[in-house]
């Protein structure tokens, strides 16, 4: 049983004073397996929070279905097994950190004393033991975020929805929360992580998806997405005839000061072809270096692709699904090639 299963989910919002609707999420299909950390990426307005709110039952889909731990989204029995940390969590500010976490613990049916005990344990875990009797009003953003993390762990959840958990935090808090996410994974938890911190996502996530204007643009394993990059071949001693041959065969090549820098797709045959040509032409291969892509490159490619191709070029969700009409692929490999071509134009 997958931890999350979304089938053809569309969420529309009516536009005021107009007869049309905006697709905040457009025909989304997604599966998250148990035990994985799934990165849910996208620029602002991509439909990430709308999707999370739908999965939590806070809003309802226009069409499509969403299942969480095998039950329809919003099912009350499943809420005993999940947790949610919203972006910039707000709490009752007159309460102390201990009272806040204890309040949430009581919502799981814990008695007052038991809830207070659990609150102490969790505040200790997130490093707020010394500040547990201070009111939340006195807390910095990072401290509030730690309270949010604490409240998300009350029920020892199987599945956690984290929406921008490290947003706006100082480096220490940032690292602590990232480490905590990794620690939760080692405990077998499933984490649905929405974040703009692409370095973190690349470090901790098993798979990622990239949303843009409500449409799922790309999805796949992080290692697969960031591979399939390019290989840089540096060579010397190339004669003019050989240079012309290489220029026509290589994906990209530059020649300067008797030195050639050639870029080929990360593919044995493609690299081998160039190396063979150099050797046959009595050139000298200085180095062959794989140029690994970063998740940030993939993300930028995916999102800027829309800006380059979109007839409107605007931001925001698509009206009636007409705006974001670019191809949607679950493999990501086919799209990667397509987006490269687009970015070259």
């Amino acid at each position: 049983m997958p931890a999350i299963e979304i089938k053809g989910l569309t969420k529309q919002y009516p536009v005021r004073l107009k007869r049309e609707a905006v697709n905040a999420v457009d025909n989304l299909n997604l599966t998250v397996e148990q035990g994985e950390i799934f990165g849910f990426l996208g620029p602002n307005g991509a439909g990430k929070t709308t999707t999370i709110k739908t999965l939590l039952g806070l809003i309802y889909p226009t069409t499509g279905e969403a299942y969480v731990l095998g039950a329809p989204a919003g099912d009350i029995s499943v809420k005993h097994r999940i947790a949610y940390l919203p972006e910039e969590p707000y709490f009752y500010e007159h309460m102390t950190a201990r009272e806040v976490v204890s309040f949430y613990a009581q919502l799981f049916g814990r008695k007052r004393a038991d809830a207070a005990r659990r609150a102490d344990e969790l505040l200790d875990l997130v490093g707020l033991k010394a500040d547990s009797t201070k009111t939340v009003r006195q807390f910095s953003k990072g401290m509030k975020q730690r309270v949010g993390i604490a409240q998300s762990l009350i029920n020892d959840p199987e599945l956690l929805f984290y929406d921008e958990p490290t947003s706006g935090l100082d480096p220490i808090s940032h690292r602590d929360i990232r480490d905590l996410i990794v620690h939760l994974k080692t405990q077998g938890k499933t984490i649905f992580l929405s974040s703009h911190q692409l370095t973190d996502v690349e470090l901790v996530c098993d798979r990622v998806s990239i949303m843009d204007r409500g449409v799922l643009k790309r999805m796949g394993r992080v290692d697969e997405l960031v591979s399939g990059g390019q290989v840089e071949i540096v060579a010397t001693g190339l004669e003019n005839g050989l240079r012309e041959k290489i220029q026509s065969a290589a994906q990209h090549s530059e020649f300067a000061d008797g030195r050639a820098v050639i870029l080929q797709p990360d593919d044995d045959a493609a690299v081998g072809q160039i190396v063979d040509m150099i050797r046959a032409g009595r050139g000298h291969v200085v180095s062959i270096t794989p140029k690994r892509k970063r998740l940030e490159d993939i993300f930028v490619e995916t999102v800027t692709e829309r800006i380059l191709v979109s007839p409107t070029g605007g931001n925001g969700a698509s009206a009636n699904g007409n705006g974001a009409s670019l191809t949607t692929s679950e493999s990501g490999v086919g799209n990667a090639a397509a987006s490269k071509e687009t970015s070259k134009q």
Partner: protein, 260 residues
């Protein structure tokens, strides 16, 4: 029920820290104490005046506290996004809504209780009154509280789909119309135009009859005797509770489908 209770308790804790509500409470108590200064009148008139003003002050402060509190409870939770973390826990929407409602009427009870305490002390220390003379006032205070329970239900029902500003004017208008219930009934009787007659009849039956709870007269004027007083108090109590329950059921039905 325990979840509802936890939310209600938290709502009371938060509401008691709201400065605007405390300002109404503070002004109410100060005005109640100031009624003590009416000693220039004859003792009988003085007591009539103090009792009349006291009940009026408690009612007026209670109305503002109830409306301002109830119209903001749900929208504030949505605006501040505290509702996200609560509803992502095993909390049913009706438990959340009822928790907020019980929190609201609990807060109103505490506020009314504090003002009543000041009022009863003011009356009790008057010559020939004592605690025994002040105790009957609790019948009037209880009726005011029931009126406010009904008012909170109305405001919370509207808060599930209206903005606080619109809710304020609508709830307040219905409170005024509901206090003129006998007047709308008379208008329905004397009018021969079926449309107008239907309109006033609909208002009379649909708008809560807040005028039912005005029980000040027999408490202020000892000459006024209410026949079957216990029956009247009982029927008013049942009326308030049933009407509040209907409003809360409607509120739950609306809130259950509301997107937050």
């Amino acid at each position: 029920m325990s979840t509802t209770w936890v939310i209600a308790r938290t709502t009371v804790g938060e509401a008691l820290r709201r400065k605007i509500l405390n300002a109404f409470l503070f002004v109410g108590i100060i005005m109640l104490i100031l009624t003590f200064a009416f000693s220039t009148f004859a003792p009988r008139e003085e007591l009539t005046l103090i009792k009349g003003m006291g009940l009026g002050i408690i009612s007026l402060a209670g109305i503002f506290i109830s409306i301002i509190l109830a119209i903001n409870l749900i929208p504030t939770e949505i605006e501040k996004r505290t509702i996200y973390t609560i509803l992502s826990k095993p909390v049913r929407r009706h438990e959340f809504l009822l928790g907020k409602y019980f929190g609201a009427i609990g807060t109103v009870l505490i506020n009314i209780g504090l003002m009543s305490l000041a009022f009863v002390i003011v009356v009790a220390i008057k010559p020939n009154q004592g605690l025994a003379g002040a105790l009957p006032l609790f019948k009037g205070i209880a009726m005011i509280y029931l009126q406010l329970v009904l008012l909170c239900s109305l405001a919370i029902f509207f808060s599930t789909f209206l903005s606080p500003l619109v809710n304020f004017f609508l709830t307040f208008s219905l409170f005024v119309i509901g206090n003129l219930s006998s007047f709308t009934q008379d208008l329905a009787k004397v009018n021969h135009n079926p449309l107008v007659k239907g309109f006033f009849t609909a208002i009379h039956f649909l708008v809560p009859n807040f005028g039912n709870f005005q029980f000040q007269n027999p408490l202020i004027n000892p000459s006024v005797v209410v026949e079957r007083e216990a029956m009247l108090l009982m029927s008013n109590t049942i009326y308030a509770l049933v009407y509040a329950a209907v409003l809360m059921i409607l509120a739950i039905l609306v809130f259950d489908r509301r997107e937050v």
